[in-house]
């Protein structure tokens, strides 16, 4: 109740946009809270009941989804993690995420630097070419990617002509290489902009100091773009962590599955074992939520900016 009183009395004076004194404003405010609260319950409720379901027995589950379990069944996680192989998928997801995020950042910084700080022939064309990655969806390249990976020379039992084996299929590379390639478009765009925003005096001063372009990039400019680098790292991480179509197509061997693909087969395997499936879902859901809560400001900004990228 204290909440309601505080708001009805408080903010109307400075409420610059809305008309209506005291009472009407209080009603409006209460209504806003109601709608927002409802929207939030609908948005996160499904995840919360999933987490709750993951520590129950199947019988407890049927008794009511909001009821707390008698004994918290952490064993469900053990089963999902080891018997269901989600532990391996988790490690695969981590390997691929790191393998995509780190190189993507460095390549994007270098190419963004080239466009921001150099004048050179063909720069507009090359920039446009790289930006094609923003409009071409993965679906328009995933079929040839399978064959490109299968016939990659000198790998997976292949000879120089790409015949004889499975190439890079069933390896982390089949996920890492295309996702780095898809990330550098957005990365180049954002890093170019971040470099352009650095005051020219800073750059000129370092030129006068005789620093070479390589040192200017890594010692002076790159550290100054840290907020952007952080946002990009988060975006690349989420894209990679969530990617589903690519592993579905290029990873046949479950040994290399990442979490989303792993969860799909996991679901088919444990059909009626809802608590185990819920534990598996939580294993994907929880790390993402933690990352999101820690960096929500950068993430919301980055995602709304990069929303069009498939």
């Amino acid at each position: 109740m204290g909440v309601a009183r505080r708001f009805s009395a408080g903010e109307t004076a400075e409420g610059s946009v809305r008309r209506g004194p005291g009472a009407a404003a209080a009603v409006r405010r209460a209504l806003a809270y109601l709608i927002l609260g409802l929207g939030m319950v609908v948005a996160i409720g499904p995840f919360l009941v999933t987490v709750l379901a993951s520590v129950k027995t199947p019988i407890e589950l049927v008794k009511g989804i909001f009821a707390l379990p008698e004994v918290w069944r952490w064993g469900n996680y053990e089963q999902a993690w080891t018997t269901g192989h989600l532990g391996r998928f988790f490690v695969n997801s981590l390997i691929v995420a790191v393998g995509v995020v780190v190189p993507s950042l460095f390549l994007s910084a270098m190419s963004g630097y080239a466009f921001a700080r150099f004048r050179f022939r063909g720069s507009a064309v090359l920039f446009g070419y790289l930006m094609l990655g923003l409009v071409v969806p993965l679906q328009a390249m995933v079929i040839p990617l399978f064959y490109l990976m299968r016939s990659f020379p000198f790998t997976g039992g292949n000879d120089w002509s790409g015949n004889g084996g499975f190439g890079l299929l069933n390896s982390h590379w089949a996920l890492i290489l295309p996702q780095v390639a898809m990330s550098v478009s957005f990365g180049t765009l954002m890093m170019r902009q971040a470099f352009l925003a650095i005051p020219r005096e800073i750059v000129e001063a370092s030129i006068v100091d005789g620093a070479g372009s390589w040192n200017i990039l890594w010692r002076i400019m790159f550290p100054l773009t840290r907020p952007m680098v952080g946002t990009l790292a988060l975006m690349f991480f989420i894209w990679t962590w969530n990617e589903f179509l690519l592993p579905l197509v290029v990873n046949i061997d479950p040994q290399y599955h990442t979490l989303p693909l792993g969860l799909l087969y996991f679901q088919a395997q444990w059909t009626a074992q809802v608590p185990i499936i819920a534990a598996g879902a939580t294993i994907i859901f929880l790390p993402l939520t933690v990352v999101f809560l820690l960096f929500q400001r950068q993430l919301v900004r980055g995602i709304t900016a990069g929303a069009v990228k498939g």
Binding site: F47, V135, L145, M190
Partner: protein, 320 residues
């Protein structure tokens, strides 16, 4: 300009705006150095981009012009001309899948936009305690992988042990089996898509509303405008670019829909929820008609591009 248009709309909220709006021309401030230096900086990114984006994109077009069974060596592929495309246009399964994408559009585009706009308009101009919490909570489903969303909703909507039908039955309803029902499966998948996106729309709209100058509202009030008239004549026009972002992003998601559907219905029951992306993957890797799958991929990409450009043209014109 086709490369920048869709992205430029997205950039209006974030930091990208300025960069994308600016032409990709040569930078004004150059560092002295050897003439080949910028090319060296570009080389790693351009190389990997060419190999794993450029080549596959061209590859899709090439594949779409051949018949290939997916099993033999690539050299066993036979030239098909435009046969795969003409096949697509006379294939009832393709039209059925395309129709399903079309039906998804109101669910993926209009529904979340409206559901995001209403709360955004309600809290506009208020200083609400905990507004950041609401923003985070509402946005959360949007960052979750489609498979996870599918798995969660498949359980919630399960006709035997799912909580949704449990509650509905206790309330005296006789609910359908949702994802397993021939009539309800597609709308259900659509509502799940709307559920995942409305928080995103809310955040975009709210950010846009904060940029509308307050004196526009004062002017409207002096003219004696009601709250609804204010909303219609000030808020909505002020949100034009945000609406363009939301509509084009949601539209792209409707046309590309894949993950959630794969995890919930896998196109079923029957083919009731089979969308183009699903049919494309099944054609290429399920029944080994690689060329045909590639043709569907090209069609899907072209349609998506054209429709999103149209959206931006429709909403985005005239600003700046």
């Amino acid at each position: 300009m086709q490369t920048t248009s869709p992205a430029s709309s997205a950039g209006v909220i974030g930091e990208a705006g300025a960069a994308i709006a600016a032409p990709a021309g040569p930078a004004r401030r150059g560092i002295a150095g050897s003439a080949w230096e910028p090319y060296l900086y570009l080389l790693p990114a351009a190389l990997i981009f060419t190999l794993f984006v450029g080549v596959p994109v061209v590859g899709t077009v090439v594949f779409s012009l051949v018949h290939y069974n997916g099993i033999g060596a690539l050299s066993s592929a036979e030239w098909a001309g435009i046969a795969n495309y003409t096949d697509a246009f006379t294939d009832p399964k393709f039209w059925e899948a395309a129709w399903h994408n079309l039906i998804l559009i109101p669910y993926y585009v209009v529904l979340p936009a409206v559901l995001g706009l209403i709360p955004a308009a309600m809290v506009q101009g208020m200083k609400l305690r905990g507004s950041a919490i609401f923003r985070v909570g509402l946005f959360l489903p949007y960052i979750m992988p489609g498979v996870l969303i599918g798995v969660v909703w498949r359980w919630l909507l399960n006709p035997v042990f799912g909580p949704v039908n449990d509650v509905l039955t206790r309330l005296g309803f006789d609910p359908p089996t949702w994802l397993g029902d021939f009539t309800w499966a597609l709308p259900t998948v659509g509502v799940i898509g709307a559920w995942a996106a409305y928080g995103f729309c809310y955040v975009v709209f709210l950010a846009g509303m904060q940029k509308i100058p307050a004196d526009l509202y004062e002017a409207a009030r002096l003219d004696g405008a009601s709250g609804w008239e204010e909303f219609r004549s000030v808020t909505i026009p002020g949100l034009r670019r945000e609406i363009a972002v939301v509509v084009s992003v949601n539209l792209i998601n409707a046309l590309r829909a894949f993950d959630v559907i794969k995890a919930t219905t896998d196109g079923g029951p029957g083919r009731q929820t089979e969308v183009v992306a699903l049919y494309m993957i099944n054609s290429a890797f399920g029944v080994n008609r690689v060329g045909y799958g590639a043709a569907l991929a090209v069609l899907l990409a072209v349609i998506t591009l054209v429709l999103s450009l149209l959206t931006l043209k429709l909403f985005g014109d005239g600003d700046d």
